[in-house]
């Protein structure tokens, strides 16, 4: 009797598992195609490009956050501040480059050059801020999530106040290099040039992170550190230094995401990072903490859902992503690609 009951329970749990997998699969695919029921194909394509673009921009921020969560078990609520700092650093550099004729009056080469310079500088600014924050503050809070939340929230407030002191509290218009302004009209589908750049940059960053994590010894060490910090240390690796490096890389990616987002929106304001952090957190939770691929998939999911719903029922745009997050957490608490 007991054995029969056990088998029946096993069959039930297996069918429940199949159902969960099916629902997850349907959700992942449905996000792409269900909107076609209500949206005409031309608008659908325009919104899809916008959604993928937003996804790529979110991925830049979320990838750093997920690595910091996954490897260091640090809840870093200052991540949004790195995002804002990246945007403001890029803003200043673009203004400086514009004075040299490299932005608004630039040709294609100069536009590409100025964007490359801006991305490079924001990566450095983000990494430096990350090292400073990790060394001075984060290091003292390892293993204590409550302290991490409180102290990184505090750090975020301080960093945003410094932005207000240095650049002022008001919204500013950020310059867009000339070659990336305007749009292409491809058979009535409007393709904003900068969106293509954002998709390219996001894809390149995803590929670079994947190659680094999968193929290099440093990447293997980081993945190993995510799984078992103690073992990595007894194999002779200084996990603290790896922590600092990962935190700096995460902060650099957030800063890069910030300037890309700012150019995409053509606007900056001190609180922009905090707003974006909500999306990044949703992406990380959907994708699974510590999984870069999960963040990539989650970011595209969030970007698409936001754009389709913003077109159909604007007031539900943020809500639908929280709903997706709740459904995924119910079906798969560790996220799409998270580890146990």
């Amino acid at each position: 009797m007991a054995a029969q009951a056990g088998e029946q329970a096993l069959r039930l749990s297996e069918s429940e598992l199949d159902l969960k997998k099916w629902v997850l699969w349907a959700l992942s695919v449905g996000i792409w195609f269900v909107p076609l029921v209500w949206i005409d194909p031309i608008t659908y394509l325009t919104l899809t490009i916008a959604g993928v673009t937003m996804g790529m921009l979110l991925f830049l921020t979320a990838s750093g956050l997920t690595l910091i969560f996954g490897l260091m078990d640090v809840l870093n609520l200052a991540h949004g501040a790195f995002f804002a700092w990246g945007a403001y650093a890029g803003f200043s550099l673009l203004n400086w480059l514009n004075a040299k004729g490299w932005v608004e009056l630039a040709g294609v080469g100069q536009s590409v050059g100025s964007l490359a310079m801006v991305l490079g500088v924001t990566l450095v600014v983000g990494a430096l801020l990350g090292v400073i924050l990790e060394r001075i503050i984060i290091r003292r809070t390892y293993g204590n999530h409550l302290k991490q939340i409180l102290i990184t929230m505090g750090a975020s407030l301080v960093m945003i106040e410094i932005i207000k002191i240095l650049w002022g509290p008001n919204d500013e218009v950020i310059l867009v290099p000339a070659a990336f302004r305007d749009s292409w009209d491809l058979f009535d589908v409007i393709v904003n040039k900068f969106r293509v750049v954002a998709i390219l940059v996001g894809s390149l960053v995803f590929a670079a992170i994947q190659i680094s994590l999968q193929k290099t010894r440093l990447g293997i060490t980081v993945r190993a550190g995510v799984e078992n910090r103690e073992l990595v240390q007894i194999l002779g690796y200084n996990i603290r230094r790896i922590f600092t490096g990962v935190f700096a890389a995460g902060a650099a990616l957030a800063a890069m995401g910030g300037v890309m987002f700012a150019i995409f929106k053509e606007q900056i304001y001190p609180g922009m990072g905090e707003e974006n952090l909500i999306f990044a957190l949703i992406v990380v939770i959907i994708g699974g903490m510590g999984s870069v691929t999960g963040s990539f998939l989650g970011a595209i999911m969030v970007g698409l859902a936001f754009n389709y719903v913003a077109f159909l029922v604007p007031k539900l745009a943020l809500g639908v992503n929280i709903m997706i997050m709740a459904v995924i957490l119910l079906l798969r608490p560790k996220g799409l690609m998270g580890r146990e």
Binding site: V226, E227, N228, E230, L231, Q233, G236
Partner: protein, 236 residues
């Protein structure tokens, strides 16, 4: 008689508020296999963790060939040539077997590839799983990989914690053969509950009880001392 390669002198260690090691003093001679035995909770694993810096000693001293390592970080101790295979088959499950080796290998002496080849001769089962995730290996294979990760580094001492835990007797036999080959080239410190394996591999022993060394000597003497085994190990 040569000097000890590793010595612990009145080492105390705490885990949270619990005083686990209460003055461990022992010496490990180079080129020999030393076994730490004792009941559960006697402090055997904590002793290895204290040597490795994972559970730092709160007082006392630990020396590697006369050099104090008591307050060093685990990675610094590892770089001095102490390797550890922690209990519960600690390998990196999400990495492939080849990636586990790539991470663990040290090649500062240009002998990394030679050591890897030797390790794969010792544990030939691992060869066919090089591109598989370590998580799919059987318990015995995981244990072999855990020990292999110590051996591919240029280590002077291998600390091996409860390698037989949860393994079938036939696997334990194979493990004993492998450990006997390892001790020919590396000083081994083995923590082991399985007296069969301990007596097959060990040359010197230390019995720990309540965080202290209560007995020490040659393994062959312990194997004959039924009273001592009954008192501290619960076996006749």
């Amino acid at each position: 008689m040569s000097d000890p390669i590793l010595s612990l002198n009145d080492v105390h260690a705490h885990i949270e508020r619990h005083h686990i090691l209460q003055g461990v003093t022992l010496s490990v001679m180079p080129g020999r296999a030393t076994v730490l035995v004792g009941r559960n909770g006697a402090g055997k694993s904590t002793t290895l963790r204290a040597v490795m810096g994972l559970t730092p000693a709160t007082s006392g001293s630990i020396e590697l060939e006369g050099q104090a390592i008591t307050s060093m970080k685990p990675y610094e101790i590892a770089r001095l040539g102490i390797g550890m295979a922690p209990e519960d088959r600690a390998v990196l499950y999400t990495l492939t077997v080849a990636e586990n080796f790539r991470l663990a290998m040290s090649d500062e002496d240009g002998q990394g590839d030679r050591r890897l080849a030797q390790v794969l001769d010792l544990f030939p089962d691992l060869r066919k799983f090089m591109s598989s995730k370590a998580g799919i290996l059987s318990g015995g294979q995981k244990q072999m990989l855990a020990i292999a990760l110590v051996l591919v580094r240029k280590n002077r001492i291998a600390l091996i914690d409860e390698p037989s835990k949860g393994l079938a007797p036939v696997v334990v036999d194979h493990l004993a053969d492998s450990l006997n080959r390892i001790k020919e080239t590396t000083t081994v410190v083995l923590v082991e509950q399985n007296f069969y394996l301990a007596s097959r591999v060990g040359q010197d022993y230390f019995i720990l009880d309540d965080g202290r060394v209560v007995h020490q000597g040659r393994m062959e003497d312990l194997a004959e001392d039924h009273e001592l085994k009954q008192k501290y190990l619960g076996i006749a």
